[in-house]
């Protein structure tokens, strides 16, 4: 395992800048997840670390060595691809041992490493099959096995579970987490699925349009998002955002009134000096943080559009006004029906306030 450092990394295609100066420090043995919507540059950044894309400017080091111009095979990395990228004309054994054989390793050593990886991944009965004779999950395990045999300093995963069905995805997620604990290797993992990010990562890097929006532990991002983008991206269903105006500011507290329901006031402990009375702000409340009427600091009336009862919980799709649609998660109420007017409570301690630019007010 090795640490990875990215210093002002940029990627340009002609005049278009895709990665706009990423600074990042990944410690040895850390499981880091790059997460963000499609087109945010997370896969490009991973491919730059792998050496599959040139770095336009900035510095990349792996294990203390600058790797900008080093061949992918000499960076000490192994990569698992979204489509598995198994060589279809080779057996599982040949696929797993190909890089080692190609590097000139003795056949006995190659066999030992392949057999060890096959044992860890329970691939032993499949070693002589071709990829087309394997299921999606098995192919993914072979792809991981192909990475393991190389004993890399850093594992790179590019959306490795995207092609699997929901059940298998959960299973493979657990397998990857177990494998990381066992191998104690540095992992950089790209996904657009925030559940994968939350469950696997030691550290999440949230990207948007080639810029790192926030870096932190999964729960730190959930509990303390830096802006509306991170707040909306981390957490499922996503955070609700309600327009509000600053009604008063006093001694480290800010009181806001909802724009759609001006009589609803909420006072939050915020010391920020960058706002003034009358400013437009955004109040963020996660679906799971709505409370029953009277149990919070203020009550809000909402009109129910649809209620989904999943058994263990219910999601209520409602609107506060014509423009503001929200989702409320209820753990123990099953009798909510469409077009009903519902009153729910908001607690200041579980709410977030953002300025007009979407930045968090603390």
């Amino acid at each position: 395992m090795a640490e990875v450092r990215l210093t002002d990394i940029r990627k340009r295609f002609g005049a278009l800048e895709i990665i706009k100066g990423v600074d990042l420090s990944i410690e040895a043995g850390e499981f880091v997840v790059f997460v963000g919507p499609s087109g945010c540059g997370k896969s490009t950044l991973l491919r730059m670390i792998a050496g599959l894309e040139d770095i336009s400017s900035g510095e990349l080091s792996i294990g203390g060595t600058v790797m900008n111009d080093v061949d992918p095979s000499k960076r000490g990395i192994a990569m698992v691809f979204q489509s598995y990228a198994l060589y279809p004309h080779m057996t599982v054994r040949e696929n797993m041992g190909f890089a080692l054989k190609f590097a000139g390793m003795a056949k006995a050593d190659v066999d030992n490493r392949v057999n060890d990886a096959a044992r860890i991944l329970e691939l032993e009965p499949l070693l002589d099959r071709k990829p087309k004779a394997l299921s999606g999950g098995q192919r993914q395990r072979v792809a991981i096995g192909r990475a393991i045999v190389r004993n890399p300093l850093v594992f790179l995963f590019d959306e490795p579970l995207s092609n699997l069905d929901a059940e298998l995805r959960v299973h493979m997620r657990v397998e990857i987490a177990k494998l990381h604990k066992e191998l104690k290797s540095t992992v950089i993992y790209v996904t657009h699925d925030q559940v994968e990010a939350m469950t696997l990562a030691d550290k999440i890097v949230v990207l948007r349009a080639g810029v790192v929006e926030q870096v932190g532990a999964p729960l730190a991002l959930y509990d303390d998002p830096a802006n509306t983008f991170v707040a909306g991206f981390i957490g499922s269903p996503r955070m609700n955002f309600l327009k509000a105006n600053v009604a008063s500011i006093a001694a480290g507290n800010v009181t806001v009134a909802l724009t759609s329901q001006p009589d609803v006031h909420l006072t939050l402990p915020i010391a920020a000096s960058s706002i003034a009375v009358g400013d437009v702000v955004t109040l963020g409340v996660r679906p799971e943080h709505f409370l029953a009427q009277g149990k919070g600091d203020t009550d809000v009336k909402v009109k129910v559009d649809v209620a989904e009862h999943l058994g263990n919980t219910s999601y209520v799709y409602a609107h506060v006004s014509d423009e503001e649609r929200i989702i409320i998660e209820h753990g123990d109420v099953r009798d909510i029906v469409s077009r009903e007017t519902l009153t729910v409570a908001i607690a200041a301690s579980r709410s977030f306030l953002f300025d007009k630019n979407g930045n968090r007010l603390r």
Partner: protein, 271 residues
């Protein structure tokens, strides 16, 4: 099955049956004619005759069969292999490497498809003559090696080649030529098989250009020899038919041996 569906099925079978008959009729006619005397063929006899043995003997007495076959096989196989190597490298390159000039150069390559061979014959002949290649097999092969159609075919097929395989191979330490040789070629073997069938048939049946550049009997290919038999003052059509059968057999053999890969390759190229 309702009436309209039955009628559709019948019509489909009638259409396919007619098309199949029209396709296979020349072969049947060729085989039947090879058993008849020339006079019977001219008079329109359609039954099986008893002159097959005589026709074969006459053909072998008039033609140096081993030499003619060797010339055809040598030219066709070599030209096919060279065409496939050059054109698949070009198709791979056009698809894999991004550059500003790529599409312009590719358009120019495709434009050459629109130039008829008749317009190229004289310049090509002069080039070969100045290079001292007239009456050599190299002169037949050289103009066919960089085939715009086969480049197009390989580029289209390469679109179905997973680019992540190339990335995985790079991470595994392969250089570009090694990726091509160890990954691309085996993965695309159906495409290669289909290209082999197409190019081999084209080269084997090539007539006009060899007719222009090959002048001695020692260098002539089977198509030229059969044609010269047919254009004699008193052509023996029974002998011509034996020649035609022998000239057709290798292409049939190549097609039937590679039929499965040919179909796969053709399907892959249009996906």
């Amino acid at each position: 099955m309702n009436v309209s569906r039955l009628a559709t099925t019948v019509l489909q079978y009638v259409f396919l049956g007619t098309a199949a008959f029209l396709s296979i009729f020349p072969f049947i006619w060729m085989v039947i004619s090879s058993t008849n005397k020339s006079i019977d063929i001219i008079s329109g006899r359609t039954g099986i005759g008893d002159a097959f043995g005589i026709n074969v003997a006459n053909f072998f007495s008039q033609v140096d069969v081993p030499l003619v076959f060797w010339n055809s096989v040598k030219v066709s196989v070599l030209a096919t292999l060279l065409t496939i190597v050059v054109s698949s490298l070009a198709g791979y390159g056009f698809e894999m490497f991004r550059s500003k000039a790529r599409d312009r150069i590719y358009a120019l390559v495709l434009l050459t498809l629109m130039v008829p061979f008749a317009a190229l014959m004289i310049p090509l002949f002069m080039m070969m003559a100045r290079s001292g290649l007239i009456n050599t097999h190299i002169a037949i092969m050289l103009p066919t090696i960089a085939s715009a159609f086969i480049i197009f075919y390989f580029r289209q097929s390469t679109k179905a080649f997973q680019t992540e395989l190339r990335d995985a191979a790079k991470v595994d330490g392969l250089k570009e030529w090694q990726i091509f040789l160890y990954i691309y070629v085996p993965v695309m073997r159906s495409t290669y098989a289909a290209a082999f069938v197409i190019v081999f048939m084209t080269n084997w049946n090539n007539y006009l250009w060899p007719l222009i550049v090959l002048q001695s009997n020692e260098t002539k290919t089977i198509t030229l020899v059969v044609s010269s038999l047919a254009s004699a003052y008193y052509p023996d059509y029974g002998v011509v038919m034996i020649g035609t059968i022998l000239a057709t057999l290798p292409t049939l053999l190549v097609f039937f041996v590679m039929q499965r890969q040919f179909v796969q390759g053709m399907l892959g190229s249009v996906k």
